[in-house]
Amino acid sequence: MNFWLNILADFGIYVILALSLNVICGLTGLLQLGHAGFFAVGAYAAGLLAIYSYPATCFLGAGNLVLGCLAAAGAAAVLAALIGLPCLRLRGDYLAIASLGFGEIVRHVLNNVEFPICAFADRPPLGLAKGISLVSTVSGVTYVANYASWWVILIAAALTYLLMLNVKRSYLGRAMMCIREDEIAARTMGVNVPGVKMTAFLLGAVVAGIAGALFVHNPYSGLRAAPGTFDLLKTVEILLIVVLGGLGSMTGSLVAAALLAFLPQLLRFLPTVAGIQLAQHKQLLYALLLIVLIRLVPNGLLGLHECPAALWQLLRRRPAP
């Protein structure tokens, strides 16, 4: 049971990350390859806040998670503003390279910074490659701040989904999609292109930061955040969900995140066929399935839509013209 709750929590985090990247890559069309960086910054901001505020904020209980989310959002926003100002002027591939660099810088910095020990973590090292842990090292592990249990994460994922849908269907979402398709048209329609790009970038970064806070407060992740978790592969995984679901489709991100969270686990239960233990080759099968999927639906599972076209027609039940 615990195992599946773990997967469920994982799925929730993936949903939030994918939705946040979808605003930047899918809606606005900015190829951002440093998303794991914002995730990491959020996780560290929330984690360090919990560690250093101990035991002063213990009485807040689950309020610590809220504080952590706020700190994560703030840290991610400040960083996104600093990165966004110079980088968002770059086009296409150049932005991709600059943001990739940003993600790697974050990881390397975290890998090499040692934080001072405190009442919560009284033994070094705190930081470096081992990362930070919300399990206290003080005399026999008493304090564990596991507020982001699987259902909290799932609720956060659902709220993020609604938030992104609302944004997509607002003037901002339309402006973002217009920028993705044709910047010059957007400008002549009164869209402040750098402003809207920055809004998308900030929104994506802040939400990814909050995902980081949930991640570090999540008991299933071991309540720790280590630099190794936030490498380029993490960004690629998130991007994979966004592309597989359909660039710009929030529902697509939801579906694809479910697929990517549960599929590898389900493959473990494959039977033995003709003397071959299929479960042993799950990595191979997983990769193969992804290739087949993207070949079958090159625009992603849902393309640009929030709802498959056939279902949409059914739901609308339009009167015959």
């Binding site: 944004v167 003037y171 048209a185 400008r187 329609m189 009164g190 869209v191």
Partner: protein
């Protein structure tokens, strides 16, 4: 604004691209509620003039004024918000957006709600979205695009895309509309329809229209005033009847007159 004050004024506009002087000391004024034509042989600088006026490009020298306000260095989106809209020669529509969304984008600056109201799905957001959708649908109807709101803009035939682009320009709430070759690729009947439509929107929306056109029939029938560009210089401006007889214009279009040998 006093009656008769120019809506758009250009003073000594100049723009050079490498070795080509695209525009050279161009000055003119447009009065309110006029339909004016901008003509000239290919490469005369017509589209460049549109780009300078709408802020997509910056002049090397000179200035532009819109309702008396200097907009020479105003960003394109801000110029659009002041009420200057345009279409493009090679129709610029975000193809992967629906027809309805294409028009709704143009309400961007007048959305009337903020990010938080949208994020939290508050009443004002829902109300304003309903109003915007209704206004966009009304525009689509005016341009014979009703019932196509759910289609992707890229799926429309060329003539409809052109109409959609004009509808979108109107949705920004302009007082001056610049049309870049609106009749290109249309047949005789469609061109006549377009001329009627342009007159109609001028009257209904109280607009000033400046259009680039190669089709002399539409220019002479529709425009109350014609500006002629040739190699970046404004060589003539006046009512169509006068332009038709202007020796410089005839020379620009037909070449210098030579006595038969």
């Amino acid at each position: 604004m006093t009656a008769g004050a120019p809506i758009l004024a250009a003073r000594g506009l100049a723009k050079r691209f490498g070795g080509v002087q695209a525009l050279d000391e161009v000055s003119f004024e447009l009065l309110g509620r006029q339909i004016a034509g901008l003509i000239g042989p290919n490469g005369a600088g017509k589209t460049t003039l549109f780009n300078l006026v709408t802020g997509l490009d910056r002049p090397d020298a000179g200035a532009t004024f819109f309702h008396g306000q200097d907009i020479t260095h105003t960003p394109a989106h801000a110029i659009s918000r002041l009420g200057l809209a345009r279409t493009f020669q090679n129709v610029r529509l975000p193809g992967q957006l629906t027809v309805l969304d294409n028009v709704r984008v143009a309400f961007h600056a007048r959305a009337g709600y903020g990010f938080l109201q949208a994020a939290l799905h508050l009443g004002r957001y829902r109300r304003r979205e309903r109003q915007i959708s209704a206004a966009a649908t009304a525009l689509l109807e005016m341009f014979d695009l009703h019932g196509l709101g759910d289609q992707l803009a890229a799926s429309l035939p060329y003539g409809m895309r052109r109409n959609l682009e004009i509808a979108r320009a109107l949705a920004t709430g302009p007082s001056l509309l610049l049309l870049d070759e609106p009749a290109a690729g249309l047949n005789g009947r469609e061109t006549a329809d377009l001329a009627a439509l342009i007159r109609r929107i001028r009257d209904e929306f109280a607009l000033t229209v400046l259009l680039i056109e190669h089709d002399m029939k539409i220019v002479m029938n529709l425009c109350e005033r014609v500006l002629v560009l040739h190699y970046g210089k404004l060589i003539a401006s006046g009512p169509p009847g006068q332009i038709k007889r202007d020796p410089q214009v005839i020379e620009a279009y037909l070449g210098p007159f030579r006595e038969p040998a």
